[in-house]
Every structure is written in C-alpha cells, then in structure tokens.
C-alpha cells in the first residue's frame, strides 16, 4: 500500500499552518503503511543560504562539534539546528557542495537527507505520529510539503529506505507502488553520472527526474518523460523549489485523490486525508487521470 499526502499552498497566510496540516493528513494515512514515515517541508529562503539536513543513528554524534570542524576546514561558519536524530546544517551557498563532499569523506556514517535553500527532509522508521512528533513537524511553516508512510515491498525498512527521496537540490519524490525496471534504469543513470545511496526503486525514479531537470526539462516535461521510461506501478508526488507535481502510471491502480481551492492544492492517497483541510466542502475534488501529468508552480 503506502500512503501519500501533499500540500501546495497558494494562500501565503496559511504558511504558518503547513506543518500541522500536513502532519494531520499523514497521521490519517497511518494504516496504509506502518513501517516508516517521512516529510519534506519547503520553508522560507534565508538570504541564499544552503541547508543540508543530515541524520545519524548514533546518539553520541556531536553535530555541533562536527559543524565547527567542517567550518574551520572550509573557512566558513556552519550553523546547526538539532532535531532528534537529524540536524540541519546551514551555510553560505558557495560552500554547500564542499561541505557535502567533506562530510562524505570524514563522516561516511552520517546520512544526507536533503540539500537545498528551502527543503528539509525528516524521515525515520516508525509510525507517522511518532516520526512527526520527534521532529515537531506540526510546528514547521512552509509553502509546500510532501509526506509518506511506507509499507515496504522493494527494499529494507531503514531510514534510508523511507520516503521522501531527494536526489537533487530542493527536489524530492514520494511513491506508492513498485517499479520493475529500476535496476536497468539505475545502471543507465550511473553511467550518466548520477549517484545512488540505496537499492530502492523509488530512488531511481527520483534520480531519473533530477537527471531530466539537470538537462533542461521543467518538472512537467520530466514527468511526461517518466511515463515513457519508468515501468511499473506508481503514483508519484514530486516537489521542487517552487513546484508540485503528480503523475500516475497508465494502469492507475494505486489510489489518488486531489483537491483544489483558491488557497491550496492538496493530494491524498485517500479522501480521508483531506477531510480536515479548510474549505474542503467547497473544493474541487477529483481523481487524477491515468498517465496524465499534473503540476503547479509558484
């Protein structure tokens, strides 16, 4: 199964509520997948500073000391915001790639959840209500966000196997379904320079879209191309810096419901996820068509 929720705000006055609305939606979907949960939130830009969200299972990891060491080595200051097993490292954008490379070299056991100016991804093994509480997702503000609760089929139940997957700056993807050509596609993408952290099928779809967008496609074009190249069952919800996209495979057996009002565009694996949104009674509610790309941009 798996449960997906997504919310793209058009009305900026709702931005302080994004985390709480998305948490409520995701918790409602808990019985679609109890294995692990994750949320991506697109927050406010901070003068072009870069955020790298990292995770460690080791409770003894000292993220503050790590940031000081990295900062000294690269000649910059790195701010640290701790959240349970995760930490958000914030630095001048120019140093983003260097920090990431340095981390991989000196602390390969620290996992990178996301990088970008706006995005933060929090994901762990466990139920949505517990995962959301650990990271206080309900207290976060933002312009759009995506959540996922997983019933694992294609790879292990681990933090890295949880969704959302992020394979490019300010990009993320969640998936309900399973891909059947992910191994061959992963090999093809590796030859073209993409890097992978897991054996998971969804990560391949995320990297595929990242690769398309790196080569000049917009989100809509990348999703259209995915309909040709990705084989299997999927309902995808995708976030970019300013965009929000949805696509289902041509068979469309993985459920999807969308709602749109003047204030927001919302996605849920089931209508249940949407029932507490403001103004849902008057919203346009529809089921996305098979093999049809939907996307919105700010």
């Amino acid at each position: 199964m798996c449960g997906i929720v997504g919310l793209f705000l058009k009305d900026r006055t709702l931005e302080p509520e994004l985390g709480s609305m998305l948490t409520d939606m995701l918790v409602t979907m808990s019985d679609r997948g109890p294995d692990s949960a994750g949320i991506a939130i697109y927050g406010d830009p901070n003068n072009g500073r870069m955020k790298i969200t990292v995770q460690s299972d080791d409770p003894n990891v000292d993220f503050d000391a790590l940031a000081s060491t990295l900062g000294a080595r690269l000649g910059t200051t790195i701010a640290v915001h701790l959240k349970d097993t995760h930490a958000v490292l914030e630095m001048d954008k120019r140093h983003g790639d260097a920090v990431r490379a340095c981390l991989a070299e000196t602390n390969p056991d620290i996992r990178i959840m996301s990088t970008g100016e706006l995005i933060e991804i929090y994901k762990e093994v466990g139920l949505p209500k517990d995962v959301a509480a650990r990271f206080d997702i309900a207290g976060m503000r933002g312009s759009h966000g995506i959540g996922h609760t997983r019933m694992a089929t294609e790879s292990a139940v681990t933090t890295m196997g949880a969704h959302p997957f992020s394979t490019g700056a300010d990009q993320c993807l969640v998936h309900n379904g399973s891909l059947s050509n992910h191994n061959s596609l992963r090999r093809r993408l590796i030859r073209e320079g993409m890097a992978f952290e897991t054996q998971n099928d969804t990560e391949v779809a995320a990297a595929y879209l990242t690769h398309k967008m790196q080569n000049g496609s917009n989100l809509g074009e990348a999703l259209e191309a995915g309909l040709e190249d990705l084989d299997g069952f999927f309902t995808f919800v995708v976030g970019t810096r300013n965009g929000f996209g949805v696509v289902r495979d041509p068979i469309a057996c993985k459920p999807a419901v969308m709602a749109e009002t003047q204030q927001y565009v919302a996605f849920g694996s089931e209508y249940r996820a949407l029932v507490n949104l403001p103004g849902i009674e008057g919203a346009r509610v529809w089921e996305p068509e098979p093999a049809t790309v939907y996307f919105w941009e700010h």
Binding site: P250, A252, C253, P255, V257, E270, Y271, R272, A273, L274, V275, V285, W286, E287, E289, P290
Partner: protein, 227 residues
C-alpha cells in the same frame, strides 16, 4: 429518521446497528453524518431500509448490499457497492475505481463520473453512470447491464461474457472480443427502464450497444502454437 454520527460512533457499531434491522423493522429511514471518507460503511445490509450518508465515503461502501437503498450524498472511494446482491446504491458525486465490481444484482447509480474498472466482473448488477467511465470498465463482465451517458475509456468490455454495455458518448477503445452490436427493440426496452429507474435524462435511441463477439469462449486450435 434515525441519525448516526460517525464523529461519536465506531464503524463496527454503525454496521452492527444497520445489519441488525429485520425484514419488518419500523426504523426504515437512516441518516449517517460525518462519514469523512471512512471505509466499509453500511456493508452487508439485508433489510428494506433507506440509508443516506451525508458526505463522501472511503473504500467499499455499501458492499454486499441486499434490499437496502443507500444514497451517498458525496463521492465514493474504491469498490463502492462491490458484490451487491439486490437493492440500490446511489452516488450523488463521483465514484473511484471498480465501482459495482462482481455485483450479482440490484441497481448502482453514479450521478457523476466513475473511474477505471467500473463494473469489472459484474454478474447481474445494473449500473447507470450519468457521466464518464474510466479504462478497463466491464472487464470480464458476465451479466447485467452497464449504462453510460457520457464517454467510456480505453479497453471497454475486455474479455466480456454476456453483460450488455450501453454507451451514449464516445468509446476510446474496445477491449478484446468486445464489439458494437445491433440495438433491437428488447434492448431499447431494457435501457428505457434503467434510465427511468436511474433518474437519467436521456433517450434509449441515443445509445449504442456493445457486447461479446464470443470469440474467446472456446479455445481456437489454430492458436495452439502460441502456447
């Protein structure tokens, strides 16, 4: 009128209450408030009662229904009226995947659109959709009637048995062994009665009939080399 509020009632309590109604019950009118997309509401009913659900429902609403008239004053999730035996289910909005799947009898009316696999493996149920239906509808449909006032998606009636399909709008494509057939007077009569029962504003003459070419019923020895 009996009212059940799902904000304060468990799903099990709802279904036990409705299923406990006897043939001679005096409590024939029921209203269910705050469904909020819950699954499996009003399933397995077997009494001549009328149940109105004030809002949208989740998976499998009205499944296995006998005798009861269930109205959903909203849209329905996947598998609405699945395996219905008799009675009537009316959806004021849209229906998700496999509406009326495997139904043996009764009437399912969808006032909006139905998505994919509507009436899959239907076995005697009548389904009237005022809007459009999605792909693979009436797949392996065995008997009963599927009436569509709007358009039908890809692969309508694939591997069809003896169900009758009536479509007023366009059919994107027909599935294997499904063909257009002659509309005879007995079909116009059946269709006219169904349109009336479903409160549908359409004339039988506006529809085309589709059915099985019956080419898949028996193994064709010329295809042996393919296996």
């Amino acid at each position: 009128m009996q009212t059940i509020d799902m904000a304060t009632t468990s799903l099990r309590e709802l279904n036990e209450t409705l299923q406990a109604q006897s043939q001679a019950t005096n409590q024939t009118q029921w209203q269910i408030d705050n469904p909020k997309g819950s699954h499996a509401m009003a399933v397995g009913l077997d009494a001549p009662i009328e149940v109105t659900i004030k809002g949208s429902t989740g998976y499998y609403c009205g499944g296995m229904n006998k005798q009861a008239v269930i109205t959903i004053d909203g849209s329905a999730g996947p598998g609405v009226a699945e395996n219905m035996m008799s009675g009537k289910v009316v959806i004021e909005g849209d229906a998700s995947q496999y509406a009326g799947a495997t139904g043996h009898g009764g009437l399912l009316v969808i006032k909006g659109n139905a998505s994919s696999r509507c009436g899959i493996s239907m076995k005697g149920i009548d389904i009237v959709v005022h809007g459009n239906i999605g792909h693979m509808s009436a797949f392996m449909a065995q008997s009963g009637n599927l009436v569509v006032l709007g358009d039908a998606g890809d692969a309508l009636g694939d591997s069809l048995y003896e169900a009758r399909l009536f479509v007023r709008g366009n059919v994107k494509s027909l599935g294997a062994d499904c063909i257009e057939k002659e509309m005879r007077s007995e079909h116009l009569e059946i269709l006219g009665a169904l349109l009336e029962q479903a409160d549908a504003d359409a004339r039988p003459e506006e529809f085309k009939r589709y059915g099985s070419a019956r080419q898949l019923y028996n193994f064709n020895i010329d295809n042996a080399s393919a296996y």
